[in-house]
Amino acid sequence: MIDENQRQFLQFEQPIKDLFEQMSETKKLANKNTKLNLDKTIQEIQDAIVEKRKELTFNITPWQRVQLSRHPDRPYTLKYISLMFENFVELYGDRNFKDDKAMVGGFAQLNGQTVMVIGQQKGINTKTRQFRNFGMPNPEGYRKALRLMKLAEKFNKPIVTLIDTPGAYPGLEAEERGQGEAIARNIYEMTHLKVPIIVVIIGEGASGGALGIGVGDKVLMLENTWYSVISPESCSSILWRSWDKKELAAEQLKLTAQDMKSFRLVDEIVPEPHGGAHWDYNEAANNLKNFITRNLKELKKIQPNELVQKRIEKYCSMGFWEE
């Protein structure tokens, strides 16, 4: 769980930060002077914090949503795995080149039922961020994910993927080893895997790097996440030829969970704790666990061939044009 004294705040979370400071001052005062009873004051501040968190969630711009999805205190894939599943057995490597630390996965159990869970993993400090390559997989990461998905299919286990990536890694070696091919292969194979696939955007859903583990029967988005063909920053730099239009790009790209749901590009929005998942990991994970459990139950009723057919039909219905 997150250390309440180590919390980090985004700029627009300043009002909450102020309350936190007020709280810590009050607590100090209470410690110094044991005759003073400040319990009521502390409770009031705590209530005020929850109120502020609620307020923030309601009045938030798409760009702020993007910022929340990248919040340094946000729970990442392995955190969700540990909070939602039992008996996680992590599996490594693509059996070909190496183990990609930006992509994690393995068998786990959800209410006693074995599933394959896979996701991009970000680091929580400078050292682990580098170790995880900032959640940007190389081709071997996608190939590792595919290996695990095929393993799941063989033993008829449902697949749950957790997406949180700023994109597939744009590196020299990544190109040498076929980043495009690796992602293409995964997308292709995922269209017709004969087991239920539930995809969840838990943070950043950037383009092909996300879709490389993102084709599924049900696609869920956490409330404060984004999913798009390009990051707002890169979009700004290409279309506006400037890095300064990221807020505008975030608006234009219609990348929030609400937008994506309204376009029927995703199926459901999973609510987060007030103010974002970083405020309460347990609550965030429990919400998600309920959504996954319910969807899995429904998907398991569908015959494999029908599942594949429906999945392909769903993606074929996506798009808009004039005729």
């Binding site: 744009p170 076929g178 293409a184 997308i187 292709y188 390009i230 234009q252 990348l255 996506m318």
Partner: protein, 308 residues
């Protein structure tokens, strides 16, 4: 896609802006050139009439459009493959004029996307200035050395050949057509990646086209790609790399991330020949490289090989 800096979002060609034109209407005489310079700006060089000169971006050889055309838009001196559009490829490949399919499917600005100008305006302008181009991909069916073939071919001049809803839908319908008529599918790629103005809808076309390719595969019909200069982002991360055979034109730039993004990421210069067709061949992602002059013969041969 995020990394598609290989294309200018306006559909301009940032690699070789001196060479590439769409030479469709060929009527006027040699040297009938107006007083404009050889290097006319992109907006002026819509349909270059015959008699215009083209400078080879690789060896600087100047040749007339007619000579180039006779040479299948390959430089007679250095074999540089000039960028051409769908109609030129169709002329090279089909025995007779093909039948165009799904030309009526047009891009639509559902998201009211506005960057430096509205997407709708952008579309209207292209339709007006380039009435010959039907979105970023064209589909046609016809005979290639007697072999029936459906060919999808991208037009880079239409918003950088970008993958949007229309390309996804035409691709999807083309696959249905192939399955119904039992015809192989050949796609010529030339694209900067996904179309940003359609945001996540563009991204989902990667899954849509891949799903259709599975159906084509189930029908045991060959799918062949030809990657030409440039092929990036969403195309290489979907059907571009999913051919039963992936072919490429010589020296085409092909990749997932664009070279500029990679350079900025790794903070090093990129090696000579990086992301060229020959590089992809060496790394195992291309079946073979085909000179445009051999293309028709090779494609017909492949179809025969699959058939017999």
């Amino acid at each position: 896609m995020k990394q598609n800096d290989t294309k200018d979002p306006n559909g301009l060609d940032i690699y070789n802006d001196s060479s590439e034109t769409n030479k469709i209407q060929v009527k006027s005489k040699w040297f009938n050139r107006a007083s404009k310079g050889i290097l006319t700006s992109t907006s002026e060089k819509k349909d270059t009439p015959e008699g215009f000169w083209n400078k080879c971006p690789k060896c600087n050889l100047i040749s007339t459009s007619e000579v180039l055309k006779e040479n299948l838009h390959v430089c007679p001196k250095c074999s540089y493959h000039h960028r051409i559009g769908s109609l030129e490829y169709y002329e090279i490949l089909f025995d007779n004029g093909p039948e165009y399919l799904f030309d009526n499917i047009k891009s639509h600005d559902k998201l009211n996307f506005v960057d430096l100008k509205p997407y709708k305006t952008r579309l209207d302008e292209i339709h007006k200035s380039k009435p010959n181009i039907k979105d970023s991909i064209r589909i046609a069916v016809g005979d290639v050395s007697g072999e029936r073939l459906v060919i999808g071919c991208m037009d880079f001049e239409f918003i950088g050949g970008s993958l949007g809803s229309v390309m996804g839908e035409k691709f999807s319908k083309a696959v249905d057509y192939c399955i119904f008529h039992k015809i192989p599918f050949f796609v010529i790629c030339k694209s900067g990646g996904a179309r940003m103005m359609e945001s996540a809808f563009s991204l989902m076309q990667l899954a849509k086209t891949s799903g259709k390719l599975f159906q084509l595969s189930e029908a045991k019909l060959p799918f062949i790609t030809l990657l030409t200069d440039p092929t990036f982002g969403g195309i290489s991360a979907s059907f571009g790399m999913l051919g039963d055979l992936n072919l490429a034109e010589p020296e085409a730039l092909i990749g997932f991330a664009g070279p500029r993004v990679i350079k900025e990421t790794i903070k090093k210069d990129l090696p000579e020949g990086f992301q060229k067709s020959e590089f992809l061949l060496e790394h195992g992602f291309i079946d073979f490289i085909v000179n445009r002059k051999d293309l028709k013969h090779k494609i017909a041969l492949l179809i025969k090989i699959f058939k017999n």
